[in-house]
């Protein structure tokens, strides 16, 4: 048997490739749509269509940001926020993952300790901030603790559900291959839970920035949250916008970094 070479006419090729061409156009437009919004904002502000006291022109915000970069003023705040989020995150994530693995694998432990965590989880972390400030003072320790509490629960529940969703067949494979209890824990339960662990890490990163912003509003003398609050108090709206953009970018970059780690350590899962 031979393969018959098939040639398509110009017109057939054009129609064949049309959907892909449209797709490229749509993607190009998607890159520019946020810019379009900025442009609209700039014009409306310049033409006084919107109140400049609340919505200064993006160009004015950019100028403010540039001055703050040159004066190094912003970097101290970014550093303070990053340190608090970093330490608090680690303090919450490590015990959260370990506890999640234990509760996921051991049904009796889950039955006994589960209700304690279910009762504590719904307490809004911001609601206990005054209590934590009372106990740990207005220094960094209280910020570490409030972030750690938020992160701990997210990691606990995501890790636990990852372990519990491990297909039984992987457990059977381990048993048939002669794995001990600890080998099953390390070689099967942990890797099987890793995709859920990363889901938890990303959720926890997002909520860490929410918590730190609120915590710095109320009880701090540094940090991006404090900076936003201080700008409000002096009615420096451009500076406030700079703070909002900076803390949003920090959250976004953290999640991008976690996604890169996920591709590196969980190459088998679909993203």
């Amino acid at each position: 048997m031979s393969i018959v070479p098939v040639t398509l006419t110009e017109d057939e090729l054009r129609r064949l490739k049309a959907p892909a061409r449209r797709e490229r156009l749509v993607r190009l437009a998607s890159y520019f749509s946020p810019l379009l919004l900025l442009l609209l904002w700039e014009l409306s502000s310049q033409l006084n269509l919107i109140d400049r006291r609340f919505f200064p022109a993006p160009s004015a915000i950019a100028q403010t940001a540039w001055r703050m970069v040159l004066s190094f003023e912003l970097f101290d705040h970014i550093g303070a926020t990053l340190r608090r989020v970093g330490v608090g995150y680690a303090m919450g994530a490590v015990p959260g993952i370990i506890m999640g693995l234990i509760l996921g694998l051991s049904r009796p432990t889950r039955r006994v300790l589960g209700p304690i965590f279910s009762a504590l989880y719904p307490v809004p972390k911001i609601a206990i901030l005054p209590l934590i400030l009372l106990i740990f003072g207005v220094g960094d320790a209280s910020k570490f603790v409030v972030i750690a509490i938020g992160v701990f629960f997210l990691m606990l529940y995501n890790t636990m559900s990852g372990v519990m969703q491990t297909p039984q067949i992987y457990m059977d494979v381990a048993k048939n291959a002669g794995a001990s209890r600890f080998q099953t824990f390390r070689r099967i339960a942990f890797p099987a839970a890793l995709p859920s662990v990363f889901t938890g890490l990303k959720l926890a990163a997002g909520s860490s920035y929410i918590i730190i912003a609120a915590a710095e509003f109320l009880g701090a003398r540094s940090g991006v949250g404090f900076f936003i609050w201080a700008s409000w108090q002096t009615f420096a709206v451009s500076r406030m916008f700079v703070g909002i953009v900076v803390i949003s970018a920090m959250g976004y970059l953290t999640i991008l970094a976690l996604e890169a780690l996920q591709r590196r350590f969980v190459p088998w899962a679909k993203h």
Partner: protein, 268 residues
């Protein structure tokens, strides 16, 4: 009696008995405490498998054939009856669905049982290389399971089950999810591997065709409750050619015979 009655006998080759597996009056039931329902999965099943023999258990879904195999693999306990394995090693299992561990490469999956036992890296490497060659996976050592076809994944499962050279191989519909062409290729390769290694094999399938292609003996099971209804010898000479044997009239006579047993009134 709810104890697992699986005994491994440690025997010198000279005094090794003819049979590798003896199953006697095996009964297994499951209890659903929520609905207070008892399901008898396997009822009073007895059979034995000779050393080096290839036995297929064939029957429809729900006839308890997988339960029998899981009991042989010590993944389930018996309710009553006894199971004796005359073997120095616990049996190796090839599972029904994709049981290849997705976070390990093909190489690491095959080496998995060896790595648990702390076998040296060099020794693992030698052994895995042999099996990659034997199962036609040499070019895929570094691949991840999600990059493999269903047939390739089952080759990995087979290689993993062979890697630490256990005497008894239990196979639970390993080719059930594959297309017919791939299945035929893998059947031929399994026969080739079995002829070289001389292992005792118990192979579960719902396909009459597959059972007759592979086995020395076919055990036919019928559901509700799962019982053995026939024990047939498959007379074809070895080595077999899975395509050529379909020219043999006896193949179709046996096919008819098994179908007649499976379709017998009052059984289905």
């Amino acid at each position: 009696m709810t104890a697992a009655v699986i005994a491994f006998e440690r025997l010198a080759p000279a005094e090794a008995p003819q049979s590798a597996i003896e199953v006697s009056h095996l009964t297994k039931a499951f209890y659903d405490s929520e609905g207070d329902r008892v399901t008898v999965a396997v009822s009073d099943v007895s059979f034995s498998v000779k050393r080096g023999e290839f036995v297929c258990i064939v029957g429809p879904s729900g006839c308890g054939k997988t339960t029998v195999l899981r009991i042989l693999a010590d993944l389930e306990r018996t309710l009553s009856g006894s199971v004796t394995l005359h073997s120095r090693t616990p049996p190796a299992m090839v599972f029904q669905e994709a049981s290849v561990l997705p976070w390990l490469t093909v190489w690491e999956n095959i080496a998995f049982p060896l790595s648990l036992k702390g076998v040296s890296r060099a020794e693992q490497d030698t052994r895995v290389r042999e099996l990659l060659a034997l199962t036609g996976l040499a070019d895929f050592a570094k691949a991840r399971p999600h990059q493999l076809s269903g047939g390739m994944k089952q080759r990995v499962s087979v290689a993993r089950a062979l890697v630490d050279d256990r005497e008894i191989l239990l196979m639970d519909e390993p080719f059930g999810a594959l297309d017919e062409q791939t299945r035929l290729v893998l059947q031929q390769e399994l026969l080739r591997i079995w002829e070289r290694t001389g292992k005792t094999v118990v192979f579960i399938t719902h396909s009459v065709d597959e059972a007759l292609t592979l086995a020395d003996r076919v055990l036919v099971m019928s559901p509700r409750p799962g019982t053995l209804v026939a024990d047939l010898d498959v007379p074809f000479e070895r080595p077999r050619d899975v395509v050529e044997m379909r020219r043999d009239k006896r193949f179709w006579d046996l096919t008819y015979e098994v179908w007649r047993l499976l379709a017998a009134p009052g059984r289905a």
